[in-house]
Symmetry: C2
Subunit: 334 residues, 2 copies
């Protein structure tokens, strides 16, 4: 049996409320009695029942987090930052994954809501195009923060992908490249537009022609990536660089180039995005844009705690955009 306030009260022949107060160091309880109570509590290894406290206080000090895929390094890095920050603030994390399925995502939102978490953070699944679920929550004044995979209508934390795309492309231009291709992601991801816009902006800024046939969209699956390079290779016009939507795309691309005896970093320069572990593990090491996932985690928690703690209208649209930076490695540097 776990010990309760009542147990302590009974043993000390006092009342539950006195015990409760003593344990909270309430000033109006005599020092003597307080000590006695606290000692006994320690002795009996008293643990306040969180259910009762939650019920009373209507708060669980728990936040729900939904990620598409727990095992994607980018997300686990974010979670790491979240965990750190949440704990520093006395919160715990109820973490679950959507598996990139809208249905599952919806279900998880329900679960978390039912579990009475104090707020929900989510990186939306690839499939999600309808944000009704989130809107419903917000309508109820329930704190929601989107991170990484976001939507302009919600409080969000994500990296500055536009500038990331710009930096990547600018770097290629400065390395002397004239014909820079871009393998873009699927349209429904916000990041796709942003990275592509950064790419376009750099071309404009440095007065290079924009050629739509140099922009190829991939659904990010391996086959699609390979198909994308082939498309580029089959054009009559040559290219001397590729800015890839992410590091995994870059990896796949480079494998194909290798087969064709095209040397990355010399014949063709490649830049990835995400600065994932793969970028330093592959050969050649990949120049990539860092997104500070750990920081994304920290900022997301801070934002939601902010909206939980301020009784102010939580619907103020808030967006935190984290700086991206280019990490130069051998794939663009000979």
């Amino acid at each position: 049996m776990t010990t309760t306030l009542k147990d302590i009260a009974k043993q000390l022949k006092t009342s539950v409320s006195t015990v409760s107060r003593a344990l909270q160091n309430h000033p109006r309880i005599s020092a003597e009695k307080t000590k006695k109570i606290q000692d006994l509590a320690r002795e009996l290894d008293y643990q306040p029942n969180s259910f009762a406290i939650n019920l009373k206080k209507k708060t669980s000090k728990t936040l729900g987090v939904i990620v598409p895929e727990l095992s994607l390094h980018f997300f686990s890095e974010i979670l790491s930052g979240m965990d750190e920050t949440a704990h520093r603030n006395g919160y715990q994390l109820l973490i679950c994954q959507s598996g990139e399925k809208v249905e599952r995502e919806k279900e998880q939102i329900q679960n978390l809501y039912k579990a009475n978490v104090d707020g929900i953070l989510v990186a939306v699944s690839k499939e999600t195009s309808n944000f009704g679920n989130f809107d419903l929550l917000r309508k109820k004044g329930f704190p929601v923060v989107l991170f990484s995979r976001t939507h302009p209508n919600f409080p969000s934390v994500h990296s500055d992908d536009i500038n990331g795309g710009f930096l990547a492309t600018k770097h290629l231009i400065q390395q002397g490249c004239k014909t820079i291709a871009h393998i873009a992601g699927p349209w429904h991801l916000y990041a796709t537009k942003d990275r592509q816009n950064g790419y376009l902006k750099a071309l404009e800024t440095y007065h290079l022609p924009i050629n739509q046939s140099l922009i190829i969209h991939s659904d990010l699956e391996k086959e699609s990536n390979i198909e994308a390079v082939h498309q580029l290779l089959n054009r009559e016009q040559n290219f001397d660089a590729i800015f890839c939507f992410n590091d995994y795309v870059a990896y796949d691309i480079i494998q194909v180039l290798k087969e064709k005896q095209i040397i990355t970093g010399k014949d063709v320069l490649i830049v990835g995005f995400g600065n994932q572990p793969i970028s330093t593990q592959m050969e050649p090491k990949l120049t990539s844009v860092d997104q500070q996932p750990y920081q994304i985690g920290i900022k997301s928690i801070e934002m939601i705690l902010n909206s939980i703690n301020s009784k102010i209208e939580t619907s103020i649209k808030q967006t935190e955009i984290l700086e991206t930076m280019l990490i130069v490695r051998n794939s663009t540097y000979h």
Copy 2:
């Protein structure tokens, strides 16, 4: 305001208990009334208050999980399996990390315990040598399952590292290697002993001499790994293969060999352990022992649910050992 049973009762001029029963499809409530109540509940978007239910039922349908590092792929893969299985069984996961610190681990155990989770799963931190915290919990009859980083006195789920080491070494022997070095992990990890024992067993089985100077321990940090190869290279006697404690060690080793113009897969064969993404991303691709982390996650949850649901003494020592298998790639195959 969120709606409660009382609200519904009031509107329908009935009692709270009737509403409660109707919502649970209790057989002794008239079909008509049940329908009316359920309809209104849906309309008002009634959500049962989990705090109250938990308080009443003394169970939270929540499991606590502690991992050393959320962003290590091996663990996030395990978590993925856990999440899947937990949800299928109606449980949620409170996930946190120890950062490989005993202090932090202890704190997290306390947090989870206070949060009234129904059980705790943990992969112990590297620093942990004293299992007192876990013993305390077990003494109270509190369900604890260790996974991956385990201890023989507790219910555990981990991979068959002995056989993994055996398979890896046997493979090297069958590839014709005669002088096989082993870069082992730090002693306090159980896996270290197991993998090394597997290695020794294979040498014995195939009648190869055991040479202690071929076994070098590393603390798994990069410097330590590099130091380890150097030690091997400086021996008077040559070696033709290295079985590494894990894939990251293998990666570091291979980098050093490359610098020395020693060709992996030809001059020296290398086997890693873990079959992590890095093993297919590096060049050459690494032969490695797969540990089925996703399965570890599944089995761990099943084990703890088992001990939660069976009122039988939870202290039955239980151990689930998952099969390992060798994945052959270019680092041992020319």
